[in-house]
Symmetry: D3
């Protein structure tokens, strides 16, 4: 079972402008083969399906716990897309809802689905608009192969994130990217360490792939300065403590270079404190959420009163 | 963010035999258009994307909280599939891993992916083997339309579950179905009540769709006798309490008929206590989890010792 | 069986310019999940598959007859796309067919398929260029669920059409949209009334979704002033008269508000008179229709003479 | 615009047994690349999109008119599937709707979608269960290429139909196949003649592909004996008469061999008289149409009375 | 089995600028339904699957040999895309690899996959970004139908190439197009001749489709002046000589018109001499190939030495 | 460019019976995500797209050369499928081509596409019948990431092949599998060695994945006894010699254990000698190749004579 906390992993800045092109590119990191839907669902299904689980608890706990963290990652990538598409809007303008075609200046190259299917918000699709698919899930049941897959997946995901970083200067998108450079780095190292424990092959020496350090990116550096690259959080009220038997010791030199200390790795017995979700203004020309939110608020108020009374 | 609890919503019995045909049918309820991947991701994205959230908190809380419950539903459907595919196996038989073709008697009509891609475990695909796709997510941003969609989705899902129930007598599959008849019924009623509050149209009078009562099915009746059809659980340490402003009062007569009382609806301030996950035996002929789990256990033991020392 | 009339439901104005971006957006309304291919094929298959038809004739007649009308709707959406892509062209210019690259100024964000696969004409794809798929068809055989689906589908389709209206000022696209706001409104109300007759739940009170009236849009208002929002046409030489037992009485106030009268609903015993199809000029640089049409005309002339002689 | 007639092209016999394997194979001929959805939509979009139409009327009329006939072909293929899945059932058995699992003996190799998504009826998918897709539509706008495509499509469709004939002895499926061998043969010859008129290349000499004559199949022979292989019907109240300038003269010897006469080709100024649709019994265990049809009949009766009163 | 030669069929000029829009359009000719992946894989599978091969050697040899040539065609289309995306770059600029977002000026309408998934290079997708699929392969096993398909496929491919030619003036793309107009013309004629030998129907009289001659295009004319439109090359050390029994004689007048001579057709006992592959510069901001190539060169040098020593 | 040799990598025995279930399973190894279409096209596109090629020749040569070998692998997997579907048939039986339904005993669980689309031969689809797709190609341009992908791909492919081995005892399928266990092992080791040279991480110590040695399988052991596990063949008349700088030295102990010697690795300057292709009998009931092959032979004979005369 899963619980939910009404927070983002970290707070994102508002996008200073409506930026549908950044939103389109970032979709790849949500619904693409290497997007967060893939990391979430790969680890989730691998944990559901693990054979011999009782005997291989540390691996089960590691994959299950990272799966839970990935839930927050689809949330923060979606939040970055929503920030790009919302821009500086703060309130609902009823007059937009008319024949005046307030959307007629939508960029021709924007992703149409953001405007037609969604109310200028995120969808589980990639940068082509093609949907995420369950065929992106690899759950072979062979522990070494699954871990090798996960190590590859994290590095493929990092490569695509680095490229999207190069393609946009949007501060909301970049803050999300900086955070995920760091957290994805933790996951890549965790899977490397798991493989090392099983095979003796020092996979962590291969990192970083590509060979550019996270500290090069200011948005990532700030999180490294908070030590986030050294911490694996436990995303459960009571379970998955065995993951700490894999996530411990000292990271490879290249991993922590230049941000002080360099260790040790820490298994934190709680999720991160998180940041606030952004408010997304209603948009009359998208008919979202339908009436002015205030009108719906009145209805909601009556509901409250009725429930209390 | 999301947390995870290492329990199933309810415990499932072991399948008395290896039953790949039941497993194939049940896949529809996991990765099909009306499967639990769809309910999970529809509500998750609708909650990520809700515009004007601060003004329409009860609806936000309701959808967000049900989304969290659906995480446990993909888990229990996967567990039912895994139970069907595992059958009565309890231990790893190393000798299966050979040229003797221990799988040569696989039923011709089994889903090949269960054997070739996965180690006889669940995948996010439907009963055709086609993957779940992000195009099944409807997140229009129009609150009434999204709620109407969700009401339709829950009823479509119920219809397909009823039909799969008719197609199998497997006790593990049927226990899962009975549980989800009840919980899906709660969700359908919750969305009906949300729509009623916004439009005055008494959607709950349309239930049940199809017009066969849950109490007809022994596996559902037992959960109704525990009052589960009246309870909306809160799946969060601290959040989403506003959902209780929608889930309250008395259910329609047809909804609770025949199982005593009939109300009132209750918003429970915690998740259900849950049941144990089944152990899935390693299978040498599927190379899962690779070595005998015992051998991996030795490695894991060394990890523990190293971590402690 | 089906017959065909060489007319559009209504005549569309020519697009004053070549407008590939409008054409791209409008594709969603043809080949998307909520496009007219979906309404056409959903109702068509539901009518093919209806069990117990003899006993539930009015519903059979209603769905069958609306299916027939939807054939004209894929035609008029296609015509709007073709108008956008044709622009003011009126004749074939043989010299375009050369190495001079008359298409080199195609907008980078145009849908490539309009130029490469088709001769600047419509395709059964959505605004991403992804094809319409048979998986968009819902034909459960449960009458209430199918009707609920259809009610949802019509409202989802309306929402997307409203958004495309906001995204373009193209007069050809907007005329098509205005017409379909009205006709889609008729279908939504018809399905609402069918559901009401079976369940007693007053679905029509939920309309319009989103809550903006058709009369707000001049292109729709003109058709309402002709009473088209009150009429269900019979699209058959002899059959489907039973649909009139559902389509009768007075519409809800919100439905007809502001355009005089407001009823009663009328079942018209013939299709609408329709409008002329636009002529699409041949385009040498698209090699369509190959030779200059005049040359093909000569061939055709000989055919006529031979056929007569 | 389109009209609809509540008849099948010809009446089909009931399937003597429930035959889901025949139904699965026949789906290829409905929703596969060479299925009737493809012929219908290819010709429909080609007619919507034809450039220079006024100058090339006979070709426009031919393609438009055949498109209209194909509407009846998706209907008859669906009817054959429905017949196979319905078998000898004639009435609704309420007791099937229970926990007794009346569907537990469904053949493991049946197409699950027939039972889970549909109420044992047809879907627009192929024999794999994969949906028909708009990418099967070829509408290049080049008249010769489109006609060449259509000629190829008809012959590919014939080849697949012949193979399905070899794979089943189901009388309902075979009657449908025999009819479509003949009508598809007419379409292949019509496109051959159109190409011949434009290029001088005698495409009709290539027929039949594969080189087995329709007369070899008793179910086809009966329709040839009625002269149906010589007739192109006009599927319109008033339009498309120009198609007769292409469909006339004498067919190639191989085309009509052995069934007497051999010509001349005839353009019939009306659709065929058609046959009755089969009644599909309600099925309680599929929850179709929900209540017993009789109960719905009562509701419908009240509707009639209310409409009249 | 297959061998490989490290040459392109002909050398392509460098694109004078980075031209992602041309690259996007050209993708249709690589991974679209009528792209070179389709010609390659259609003929490859038809040759793998041919029944009765020993008795129909010339057809087997023809299809097998053309399949081998198509391998070079996916290579040259990919090379044209790569040239468009590489532009005039000649060397790796390490400083691009930073937070300065060197890709922030990527055209909004560029295909995102070129930048995010690939390092500004070709992918087996079409101009929508949708992947090539095995469903584009037609391998019916009926020789006449397969040849008819191939004839249609080549003409469809030519039509799309002509349109892309109209859409770009990029010299690298146009050189590739000119070459493939000529080689595709050879293949279309070869399949026409094969069909003629089996059916007596003079398919070659239908060429060219569309009716614009290759000589109209300077980039094609140069290859015709080298006689390349008359030559079928043998792409095998020892095999497929039987193809020469089909490729011989004199081409139709329209085929060779205006470029001198006009025949005879020649079966050349070797592949063409080919041209050099372009060098693609490393791109730091795409992290390709990771380190500066020079650094990798050092590693490679050590490998050489170690291998020799 | 590519050349072709009319041989299989090794000869396969005929399947003693028509075995459509084995054929269906083996399709996964042809057209699935880990099938030979994927290895072929991944390495082919990576070689087309390599940036900085001149500086990293050994890696370019290695990937290019293995790509060429994979062409033979799609051929041998197709041959195994064709053998399973052909069974012991040796000649064309004209009488099968009739109304007697010679295919009526096709196994219900067979893949319908083998019978309807193809003439009982292979298609580029997976074991579900879903097509291979270009989205399976990973060509990031980052050399280390591409090599890591390839190492993962080869091991994933091996795992699936091992499982199919367990699922069938068909001697034709198993011979193919044994051969590919060995050749896939060579490729996995080659990519491991390439990664080791670039990163120092001893990837080859991770092999074999899963941890079952090839020598356990008699069909693989015979090829190991010929030393095939030690040989990388050069698949080019003149090129790719630099691959030998990577493929040299001594393999890891576990790799060659138990089959004598154990090295050294050898770069063979030619392709393997190969084996004969099987003859596939014509099948009248599949209309393949149309006429009896003998009749086509007569036509072919006339072609020969005409070509010579």
């Amino acid at each position: 079972m899963f619980l939910r906390i009404d927070k983002l992993p970290v707070e994102l800045p508002a996008s200073p402008e409506i930026d549908p092109i950044a939103a389109k590119h970032v979709q790849e990191l949500l619904g693409g083969r290497f997007g967060e839907m893939s990391t979430l669902m790969n680890y989730t299904f691998q944990s559901f399906n693990m054979r011999g689980r009782d005997k291989i608890r540390p691996y089960y706990a590691l994959i299950s716990n990272i799966a839970a963290e990935e839930g927050g990652h689809i949330e923060i990538v979606s939040a970055a897309i929503n920030s790009c598409l919302n821009g500086p809007r703060t309130g609902f303008v009823p007059a937009d809802n008319s024949a005046e075609s307030s959307l007629k200046d939508v960029l021709p190259a924007a992703f149409g689905g953001h405007y037609i299917a969604a109310a200028q918000t995120a969808l589980p699709v990639d940068s082509r608009g093609m949907p995420w698919t369950g065929d992106y899930v690899f759950s072979s049941g062979n522990l070494i192969l699954d871990l090798l897959h996960n190590f590859f997946l994290e590095n493929g995901a990092r490569t695509q994130k680095l490229r999207v970083y190069e393609m946009t200067t949007n501060p909301s998108a970049r803050m999300m990217l900086g955070y995920l450079f760091v957290r994805g780095g933790v996951h890549a190292l965790a899977y490397a360490k798991a493989l090392e424990s099983l095979t003796g092959v020092e996979m962590s020496k291969m990192l970083p792939i590509p060979n550019v350090a996270n500290k090069m990116f200011p948005e990532a550096l700030q999180f490294m300065e908070q030590g986030m690259h050294l911490k694996l959080y436990r995303f459960s009220p009571e379970d998955y403590r065995d993951a700490g038997t894999i996530w411990n010791g000292t990271p490879p030199a290249a991993y922590a270079e230049g941000v002080g200390g360099g260790g040790p790795l820490e298994f934190v017995d709680a999720p991160p404190s998180g940041g606030d979700l952004a408010h997304l203004a209603g948009i009359a020309s998208s008919f979202a959420p339908n009436y002015a939110p205030e009108e719906i608020f009145e209805i909601a108020t009556k509901l409250y009163q009725k429930a209390k009374g």
